[in-house]
Amino acid sequence: MIDVREAITRAHHEEWARVVAALTRRFGDLDIAEEAAAEAFATAVERWPADGVPPNPGAWLTTTANRKAIDRIRRENKRGDKQKEAQMLYDDDPPESPGAIDDERLRLIFTCCHPALALETRVALTLRMVGGLTVPEIARAFLVQETAMGQRITRAKAKIKAARIPYRVPSAEDFPARVSGVLAVLYLVFNEGYLATGPDTDPVRHDLTAEAIRLTRLIRALMPQDGEVAGLLALMLLTEARRTARVSASGELVTLDEQDRGAWDVALVAEGHRLVRERLAAGVAPGPYQILAAINAVHTSARDVRDTDWSQVVALYDQLVRLDPSPIIALNRAIAVAELDGPEVALAAVDRLEDKLAGYHAYHATRADLLRRLGRSQKSRAAYDKAIELAGNTAETAYLTRRRDQLGWSTTVDGSPT
């Protein structure tokens, strides 16, 4: 019984996207594909415990889903156009090689992440169609009402159909931009898991980080040559490796310098480092995800925070700023500069970002920390207050509150990391 449940879970992970992709290609309709796939898995849950797990679960699911889709098309077309029905039901494409099936899933991913859809819609659609999460699961993940999430996905499917968003892998000319659109969706899912924004959720949502990594692994398998895909996967793995060390037993955020490095996941670190080395060996100018992965590789290479190669970290941030002049990257660069050149220099750099980042909690948290290290307790306290006001993550709020409340007896004035 447990084996059957495991087989169903595994089939769901491995086959959901394949089934949806194959049906979308055949019937030209995401809605039919999604519903039929869901029905096929529901049938598996019903039948497999009694009938046993079929020898080829993927083929069984695809065949079952095909039948469900045909039933629906016939049902809806009772008085309708017989010729159109025949067109939809007659599968005139030849059976596919395994490579072609991989291609189907890529098409599905690119369609779900189409730039004519709003970012939040792309995220929801990707999690539903490619990830196989249910609407209630996605609604919970983004703290949205189920009905609102359902409508968002329904509207997206209707737009794809009515505006004819194509079901295909983009042309070579558009490919890099479209891949980075897909990666942005996956990184957003990962980050929401890694630092959940809501005050009513767990501070780290392993379900979301795991799903983001799973989908990025899938895309890596489909596009093994793409440097940014490898970079994003490495970045996620090296971040995920620190997950358990990142929140204390009392539910407080533990910053990188205070983490128990022995608690990091050695296997994930090793896999992330392997990917970073692979990209370095490729000798191609890295994109932003590869540079972020390299920064994380430097951090995870230091057994003790004092062994961190900060000049390397700052050099990588310099490289990143040239590609992406966003103020958030400049803020992160300043944090590394504090370790290399001291908090005074870093604070000057941070203060220059005030116009752009005054509403961002991490800006105030960074200032608070630098001011604390410079012994300017009063200003530091005000910055902590502002950061706490803006932070949404429970573990981060707890960490910032403790740091603020410790200010009274803080005597660190030399700027060294505490």
Binding site: H114, P115, A116, A162, A163, R164, I165, P166, P170, D174
Partner: protein
């Protein structure tokens, strides 16, 4: 598949001569590549009249049905196989007329008879 590409304007100005030249060049390209169905520029919203004949007697109202800062200044109707092709064409159209454009698909309307240009 047909799409309406609406030109959205928020200034009172008509197209400048250089914008007109760019629009003409873009139109020529649409025709050469088989995307052209129809296009036109519209008089300003102040030239609009709204007619409501739902109640048996036609009521005429001077001015546009919606007062807004942004208004429809003109449009293209283009033929394209899918949204990706349309997005590319619309991006060029926006550049040519130097204004924002909005794309919407026609629902199951066959505009072929109007392609007599």
């Amino acid at each position: 598949m047909h799409y309406l590409v609406s030109v959205i304007d928020d200034t009172a100005g008509l197209a400048t001569p250089s914008e007109m030249a760019a629009i003409n060049a873009f139109n020529d390209r649409l025709k050469a590549e088989g995307h052209w169905v129809f296009a036109g520029g519209l008089g300003s919203p102040s030239t609009a009249t709204v007619i409501d004949n739902r109640g048996g007697e036609a009521l005429f109202t001077d001015g546009p049905f919606l007062e807004s800062k942004e208004y429809l200044a003109g449009f293209w109707i283009i033929e394209a196989p899918d949204l990706d092709v349309t997005l590319k064409l619309a991006a060029e159209g926006s550049k040519a007329c130097n204004r924002k454009v909005e794309i919407r698909p026609f629902l199951g309307v066959d505009l072929q008879p109007f392609r007599g240009e």
